[in-house]
């Protein structure tokens, strides 16, 4: 491919090596491309590590298997949380930030050498924390609540990782400035970039919260500080811990829009609405620290109610909006592509054989129905009394971060491979099933943990039979069934996850190179009846123009809303039967 070798050319005003993407005609800065690759590879490595650890956790929770001894279980559980929730997700998000800035804005990356420093710091920090945990004396869980004390290097590794991520965010912001200065795009940034900006702004807040609490805790673990207040620790730590999940939400919503745009030519129904929804994330998500403090002593109910609801549920409103505008944009695009029959032809005839699409749509559905609904219920002040620290909590966040974010990132990978790595996806037949295996596995894990939590089973607990306890206790038999099913679905998710890692690694190493000839083909199955491709001369300028009536989406949203409301009221009913408490 003539342009693939890397020309010295000018992007904006400054000389940079770039190639021209055969699909999108965008100029791709080779420095940005290398950084995207490095961060994506690191992400997949940590996903593989964390995924195996997660399987060990599930197999220990499965009472009939009960694989690990207690000390190993707590160590593995600590490492599992760190590797998937932090390392996998944030490395992948760095790749997304560089993609959404340099690539989508047709621009060179600002200060790639700083991005490499960020990468090295993040790798070093992640490895330092991992090695410290595996030494066995830092089994303090992902949250490391004081006065549980880990080795100083546990905190130091996290601080290094966070500093690296912060530098990465600064490179992203710098690239936005460069793009604007050098006029590499017209008008406003694309919606996907806007979503990435939301993610990066939240990331800065998150990392600042992390620094505020982890640096003193590190000094405390070294003996320089005598006391860390337990409640203050949790309040600030969750400013990092929960807000960092909102980076994920912003990022994976941006990924949903991106996949729908690349595969189907979907446009936002309304730029104004979708951007406002992202803005809600920036404005209100930081209040979510309260979600973890609802049954805590020492905070007033007024504080809890205001914060846990993100001020009148305005951040939830943001997600509810995306929950309609993403399928809406897909429906409008498919109808424009000619799939106009009935309510659901657009969905039935969508490219389900393309793992990027099936992964994206499964992620959308499960994030909303499982992660979203359970999150709002869990985050309701009084309802939390029935759920705090039970398996309901990991049930909820496996619905958001695994079935939602992780699956969305996996789906995007099937486009990153041909577009950035310029390799065809290996074993397309297997790749077609991968999102289903992983998605159904992750959905099952979430649902059965939600079920076990509803029955009261404690999270982070090695032995639900209480064999060693002096005062014995038995959870209901159904809880044992739930945890057995959780184990089975964890195996399914692991098969899907292993397939993802294998396909990704094999494609990068041995995949057929992508040239101009096979570039479109490499994206996988696309809609058969594409009326327009890339150009939009014959259709409206925004997504809903001429396609404002979207009966399929309205139906899906109505089903979602009814499920949400019913489940919400059922939980109030349960609460009303609880022992009176005041």
């Amino acid at each position: 491919m003539a342009t693939a070798a890397g020309e010295i050319g000018v992007i904006g005003g400054i000389a940079a090596k770039f190639r021209t993407c055969p699909v999108t005609a965008l100029k791709i800065d080779l420095a940005a491309e290398r950084l995207i690759k490095a961060n994506a590879v690191a992400a997949v490595v940590f996903l593989a590590i964390g995924g195996v650890l997660g399987l060990l956790v599930a197999l220990t929770r499965w009472p009939a298997v009960h694989l690990l001894d207690s000390d190993t279980f707590y160590m593995v559980l600590t490492a599992h949380g760190l590797n998937v929730l932090l390392f996998w997700i944030i490395f992948f998000e760095m790749a997304i930030l560089y993609f959404a800035s340099a690539v989508l804005l047709n621009c060179r990356l600002a200060a790639p050498q700083f991005a490499w420093i960020a990468f090295v710091l993040m790798v070093a920090g992640a490895l330092l924390t991992d090695f410290t945990v595996l030494q066995g004396d830092s089994s303090v869980m992902f949250t490391s609540y004081v006065p549980l004390r880990a080795s100083p290097n546990f905190y130091l590794g996290l601080i290094l990782f966070a500093v690296g991520a912060l530098i990465g965010c600064m490179v992203f912001f710098g690239t936005l400035v460069v793009a604007r200065e050098e006029r590499t795009y017209e008008g406003s940034v694309p919606l996907v970039t806007f979503g990435a900006i939301a993610a990066a702004v939240i990331a800065v807040f998150t990392i600042a919260s992390g620094a505020i609490i982890l640096i003193p805790t590190w000094l405390w673990s070294l003996g320089y500080i005598g006391h860390i207040d337990t409640l203050m620790y949790k309040l600030v730590w969750w400013g990092m811990g929960h807000s960092s999940q909102q980076i994920n939400v912003s990022a994976h919503v941006a990924v949903w829009y991106a996949i729908a745009a690349i595969l189907l030519g979907a446009k936002p129904l309304s730029e104004k609405v979708s951007r406002t929804a992202f803005l809600f994330y920036i404005l209100f998500l930081q209040l979510a620290s309260a979600h973890h403090l609802l049954v805590e002593p020492g905070l007033s109910s007024e504080w809890k109610v205001f914060n846990t609801s993100y001020a009148l549920y305005l951040a939830v409103l943001g997600s509810l909006i995306h929950g309609m505008t993403v399928p809406g944009a897909i429906e409008a695009a498919q109808r424009r592509n000619g799939y106009v029959h009935g309510m659901f032809e657009w969905l039935r005839r969508a490219p389900w054989g393309n793992p990027a699409f099936s992964g994206m749509f499964l992620s959308l559905v499960m994030f909303g129905f499982i992660g979203g609904i359970s999150g709002v219920v869990l985050g309701t002040e009084q309802l939390n009394i029935m759920m705090h620290n039970t398996l309901y909590v990991p049930g909820h966040f496996h619905g958001t971060v695994v079935a939602g974010t992780t699956l969305a990132f996996m789906a995007l990978t099937y486009l990153v491979l041909p577009l950035i790595f310029r390799r065809e996806v290996m074993w397309p037949g297997l790749a077609k099933w991968q999102p289903w295996l992983f998605g159904i596995g992750a959905g099952g894990i979430s649902l059965f943990m939600l079920g076990a939590g509803t029955l009261g089973v404690a999270r982070r607990h090695w032995d639900i039979t209480f064999a060693d306890a002096i005062l014995s206790f038995d959870y209901p038999a159904t809880a044992f069934l739930m945890l057995g099913l959780n184990g089975i679905f964890a195996i399914l998710a692991t098969v899907g996850g292993a397939l993802y890692v294998a396909i990704t690694v094999a494609s990068v190493l041995f995949g057929r190179p992508v040239h101009e000839r096979n570039a479109l083909h490499a994206l996988g199955p696309l809609p058969q009846r594409v009326v327009e491709s890339g150009s939009s001369a014959q259709v409206g300028r925004h997504g809903s123009e001429g396609f404002g009536h979207l009966p399929g989406t309205y139906t899906l949203v109505a089903v979602f809303f009814v499920a949400f409301a019913l489940y919400y009221f059922v939980n109030w009913k349960y609460l009303s039967e609880l022992w009176p408490l005041s």
Binding site: Y257, A261, L269, N389, G548, L550
Partner: protein, 184 residues
């Protein structure tokens, strides 16, 4: 397309489709409803966590619990070595969370209210009353007072559901609830 800049520079003037507006309206009202539901439950609901909390030195709290046990002890909980304590209805009841037990075993009467004090002698713990499924976080240094009213008799367990180190899964407690007037 969402991966390209908006096609018209003045995108914020573009009309929003009716269906989208309707959903935004419904979603916003639903959010308002859920917000006021929490406030409504504070006024009318019976399950609200108290905000009565005092700072207390952990060793001082241990002494209070020991004095409470001495005052109301009626025997032992089988051969477990735990004292069985039956405080009078309406009184202040103390439970101590520490590595790795909830101490002592309490005996309460159905339908009566008690001011349950919760605190920890060492690390954070989770008070998880089962199978009722009522969960409250316990901090060292904070004495949380919750008024609790058992509505059923039987043997209830307290499980620690905040990870507290190597023996976390052995950390349990017990609350016995008897019919009014019985068992003292």
């Amino acid at each position: 397309m969402a991966v390209r800049p908006p096609e018209s520079r003045v995108w914020w003037n573009e009309p929003v489709a009716t269906g989208e507006l309707v959903w935004i309206g419904i979603a916003f009202l639903w959010g308002l409803f859920m917000f006021f539901m929490m406030i409504y439950w504070h006024l009318e609901g019976k399950q609200n966590l108290s905000a009565e909390v005092y700072r207390v030195k952990p060793d001082r709290y241990v002494k209070k619990v020991e004095a409470f046990v001495e005052q109301y002890r009626i025997g032992d909980e089988g051969d477990t070595g735990y004292p069985l304590v039956a405080p009078p209805p309406g009184s202040d009841v103390y439970l101590l969370a520490r590595l790795w037990e909830f101490w002592p075993v309490l005996q309460l009467e159905k339908g009566q209210s008690y001011r349950l004090h919760l605190s920890s002698a060492d690390w954070q713990h989770g008070f998880s009353l089962q199978p009722v499924n009522l969960n409250i976080q316990v901090h060292p240094g904070l004495e949380h007072i919750v008024t609790i009213t058992p509505t059923e008799s039987g043997v209830f367990s307290v499980v620690c559901n905040e990870f507290c180190g190597a023996g976390h899964h052995q950390m349990t407690g017990r609350i016995r609830v008897v019919e009014p007037g019985q068992g003292r």
